[in-house]
């Protein structure tokens, strides 16, 4: 007797990931084979179809983690802590991808693996900031303290991001070389948007899975309150 797939029991985030994968396949196909090459950079420019979505969604994840961190300090609810952790880790993964992609682009464009480009440098600092938050979390054993301190470090790190960006921009102002085209050709907009949404859906899946894991770990450590004992008569 064949077993039926329990569609109703599949978590919502798997459906989201499915849509995201499908969209990614289509968007990547269009970006690689349908969209025209860029006028100056040629086919190298096609890395933009993963690079820009990584950047947008990475920043979006960090922003979500920042909002969750504020709510955590307000309510201390485990669900918000789990959401915060999920979004931080999704952001860190996208951030790391971003740096690898940026490095490849720099190599292809300027022949070097690293250039102190404003956005690339800011991405590096962001990765160090939020990897530090994850490191802090891993050293705190008490669950509630871990929640509070992760939230504090997330807020402090997120506030730093625009400061770092502007600072590095001034620092580089005499050496600024435009690394990405400011305006995107209309034919490139479609695959870019498709991949941006695809990355968003996959990031949501990742964050949700991580949040579930965090909640499960927390529940594993929980023990029910013991039964109330009878008082010995006075």
């Amino acid at each position: 007797m064949t077993q039926r797939i329990p569609w109703a029991r599949i978590s919502w985030e798997h459906w989201v990931a499915g849509c995201g994968l499908a969209l990614l396949l289509v968007g990547t196909y269009v970006g690689l084979f349908v969209a025209p090459p860029e006028r100056h950079m040629g086919d190298v420019q096609r890395i933009m179809y993963v690079h820009v979505p990584s950047a947008w969604n990475g920043l979006l994840c960090y922003t979500g983690a920042f909002v969750a961190a504020i709510v955590v300090l307000w309510t201390s609810r485990p669900k918000w802590d789990a959401a915060m952790v999920g979004m931080i880790e999704a952001g860190v993964v996208l951030n790391a991808l971003l740096l690898v992609q940026g490095s490849i682009w720099a190599r292809a464009t300027w022949g070097v693996w690293w250039d102190w480009d404003v956005r690339l440098t800011t991405s590096l600092v962001m990765l160090l900031l939020f990897a530090g938050v994850m490191a802090l979390r891993s050293f705190v054993e008490d669950a509630e303290r871990r929640t509070t301190w992760t939230a504090i470090a997330t807020i402090v790190s997120f506030v730093d991001v625009p400061l770092v960006y502007f600072c590095v921009r001034w620092w580089r102002s005499l050496h600024q070389v435009q690394s990405t085209p400011e305006t995107v050709d209309r034919a490139m907009v479609l695959p870019l948007r498709m991949n941006a949404v695809a990355f968003l859906l996959l990031a949501i899946w990742f964050a949700a899975r991580r949040a579930r894991l965090e909640l499960a770990l927390r529940r594993r450590d929980e023990v029910a309150v013991p039964e109330r004992r009878e008082l010995v008569h006075a």
Binding site: E144, E222, V223, V225, R228, R229, L231, V232, A234
Partner: protein, 235 residues
């Protein structure tokens, strides 16, 4: 609720978990203003945890705790003004002298802090001669005296004492007894956690025995010595 009927300390169904271990569960305790309560129990029964919860140093996992009607966590800046915690920790900076330590406390409490105001306080605890010495070199008895002085300086209406007789010689223990008697005379509520049952029972009106984090018995302080073994063995 008028100030005269607000309990000094009210704990309702208080529970606290550390990791997978419940240090306290289902604890109900009310201490009226001016009342003194002995908290007894074997090691690990939750006495220290309860006192630290009452001081707002931990958050209760379940239940509510209030001091003179103020929630000890939500309104901890206010509730802490009403209470003092005299515990194992001396809360001292070893490099400061006794006089400097008391001066810091007085300034932080908004009290007069000139030498002329502080020396009589050191006199009360026989620390005048040692006033200029760094507290890092103090004996256990001297540190305890300084901590008692701190609770007097705070002028609290509720004093929580965690094993105040521990590590003290006989004169030191007598001093603590005199201070607790003085708190009672001044109408200050006292919650005293101690293993020295006979000594502590003489100083208290009522006793509560904790066992495995729960209230096992409550009654007159005079009866706790005779009932303690029976209560803790039964559970």
């Amino acid at each position: 609720m008028t100030p005269t009927t607000t309990p000094a300390l009210e704990a309702r169904d208080v529970a606290r978990r550390f990791g997978r271990h419940w240090a306290l569960a289902h604890l109900d305790l009310t201490v009226e203003p001016g009342e003194s309560v002995l908290l007894a129990g074997p090691n690990g029964s939750g006495k220290t945890t309860f006192l630290r919860l009452a001081a707002g140093l931990y958050r209760a996992t379940h239940g509510t705790l209030s001091v003179f009607g103020r929630d000890v966590r939500a309104e901890r800046q206010t509730s802490r003004r009403f209470l003092s915690l005299v515990s194992h920790d001396a809360y001292l900076y070893p490099r400061l002298t006794a006089l400097e330590t008391v001066r810091v406390w007085a300034r932080l409490l908004g009290r007069p802090a000139r030498d002329a105001d502080l020396m009589p306080l050191l006199d009360e605890v026989d620390l005048t001669a040692a006033g200029g010495q760094p507290v890092g070199g103090f004996s256990a008895g001297m540190r305890k005296r300084l901590t008692l002085l701190r609770s007097r300086l705070e002028g609290s209406r509720l004093v929580l004492l965690d094993e105040p007789f521990a590590a003290l010689d006989v004169p030191g223990q007598k001093l603590v007894e005199r201070w607790i008697a003085g708190f009672r005379r001044d109408g200050v509520a006292v919650v005293l956690a101690s293993h020295s049952l006979e000594q502590a029972a003489r100083l208290c009106d009522r006793a509560v025995v904790l066992h495995h984090g729960q209230k096992a018995w409550q009654g007159a302080a005079a009866d706790v010595v005779s009932r303690f073994e029976e209560v803790t063995c039964r559970n």
